[in-house]
């Protein structure tokens, strides 16, 4: 059963782990074409938010809506979500080609159609048959991004996607995310890098202590706005 959506919405979502509150009454929405930056310090709740959006975690309260449907769409919904977390979801013993082939097939794709172009986009065509364990962090990160995008997801969730990338690779990944958004994907990326967020994101959501402090257009002066938002909670 095919399923698609052009917006994603968190409505008053909270998430508790025992007595610890990871997210508290967060409401946030994004539409096709948005690149939303989730900003905040370590432990702010960014990864929890991404986990909930990815369907790997459930909210303790509140609702998540993908278009006009809730989370119940299961397999059909997961087919439209791509996730790249801090851990790269790659098997180090397998080659780049074997990794992509496995993930393509488990997504119901024809590996012979999607793997070679993905390797080319990752710049790994000449290392396609080398074990991933021999790759640098940047090479793995590029491969992991292509793994997450193999099935052309509508919702692209990225947790620190620029970790370990050099300037050139950051530029390539940024261009890739812009192209995805231009084609109608909803990109939500958690990052610490304010400079990157300023140049790449169309919107930013600042999270701290599980609370959404700001949800506004990105643009100039982001560092100052971020500091102001952080400062307001320090003094609260």
């Amino acid at each position: 059963m095919s399923f698609d959506f052009d917006s994603v919405q968190l409505i008053d979502v909270s998430r508790h782990f025992g007595r610890r509150r990871a997210l508290s009454h967060v409401s946030l929405s994004a539409r096709a074409g948005d690149i939303v930056g989730l900003l905040g310090p370590n432990g702010a709740g960014k990864s929890t938010l991404i986990g909930i959006l990815s369907t790997l975690a459930s909210p303790s309260s509140g609702e998540v809506r993908y278009g006009d449907r809730g989370r119940a769409a299961s397999g059909a919904l997961r087919q439209r979500i791509g996730l790249l977390a801090h851990e790269l979801f790659l098997y180090p013993e397998l080659s780049a080609r074997q990794n992509l082939t496995f993930f393509a097939e488990i997504h119901g794709l024809r590996a012979d159609e999607v793997v070679a172009p993905a390797l080319e986009r990752a710049g790994l065509t000449d290392r396609a048959d080398d074990a991933v364990s021999g790759f640098s962090r940047g090479m793995r990160q590029r491969l992991a991004l292509e793994r997450a995008l193999l099935h052309e997801p509508r919702l692209v969730l990225l947790d620190e996607p620029f970790t370990g990338l050099d300037d050139r690779a950051v530029g390539i990944v940024s261009d890739r995310l812009r192209a995805l958004a231009a084609r109608g994907a909803i990109v939500i990326a958690a990052t610490h890098d304010l400079d990157l967020a300023e140049g790449l994101m169309s919107r930013i959501a600042i999270v701290r202590g599980g609370r959404l402090l700001a949800d506004e257009a990105a643009g100039a002066g982001l560092r100052g706005r971020y500091r102001a938002a952080m400062g307001s909670t320090w003094s609260a």
């Binding site: 790997l56 996730l83 851990e87 013993e93 496995f102 488990i106 997504h107």
Partner: protein
């Protein structure tokens, strides 16, 4: 879709194991060492205590199986690939079945070495009734692996998983081990007690059905969140 996803997971695990041979070699080494130690301790002048071979076979299978279970899911923990598997648009219990098939095949490979080794060292007529013995061995292995695969998956993100796995696994799988030992012992008796072996086999099959059903039913809930 379900079977295809399970077979893809199995094929992927097989490809990794073919490159590293890590689990197969450690499991075999452990199982063979275990049998050798028992044979030096128990076999006197070429004779072993009655039914010792049956007990040692299943102890070796259980211990080696526990080792294999831990390592199988360690691979999914490293790189957090289990989350990528859970994000795939396939029925999540199919992932469990794929991992289960991998563990069962590893157990079969181990048993293929253990059975002739024990038969020789303990002078045990393990293959006197080959079909019935094979049925007991297969159903016992499936029952043990069904529970073990679920617990190993469940404990994957737990810090003390290496300690907790046997603590949780053995109490639940003791009925499987007992049925396996008694069924094997009945087949080794002289003359072989096929009727009793069939009773133990039917209990084993019933346990397999219960364990696999519960595992398929609970896997998704245990893994997500």
């Amino acid at each position: 879709m379900f079977l295809r996803a399970a077979l893809l997971v199995l094929r992927k695990d097989f490809a990794i194991e073919r490159k590293s041979l890590e689990i197969l070699v450690t499991t075999l080494f452990f199982a063979v060492s275990c049998v050798l130690v028992f044979s030096f301790g128990l076999v006197k002048e070429g004779k072993a205590p009655t039914d010792a071979a049956a007990a040692i076979l299943w102890i070796a299978v259980a211990f080696a199986g526990t080792l294999a279970l831990g390592r199988t899911f360690e691979r999914e923990r490293y790189g957090d690939t289990i989350r990528a598997l859970l994000m795939a648009p396939v029925p999540r219990p199919a992932l469990y079945v794929g991992k289960l098939l991998g563990v069962v095949l590893l157990l079969f490979a181990t048993e293929a070495i253990l059975v002739p080794l024990i038969a020789i060292l303990f002078a045990a007529p393990l293959l006197a009734r080959p079909l019935l013995f094979l049925a007991v061995l297969v159903s016992g292995s499936v029952g043990f692996a069904a529970v073990g695969t679920l617990f190993a998956a469940m404990l994957m993100r737990t810090r003390s998983r290496d300690v907790l796995l046997p603590i949780l696994l053995y109490p639940i799988t003791i009925p499987v081990i007992i049925c396996g030992v008694r069924g094997t012992a009945a087949l080794m008796a002289s003359p072989a007690d096929e009727a009793m072996a069939a009773v133990w086999l039917s209990i084993l099959i019933a346990l397999d059905v219960v364990f696999v059903t519960i595992a398929l039913w609970t896997f998704e809930t245990l893994m997500v969140d």
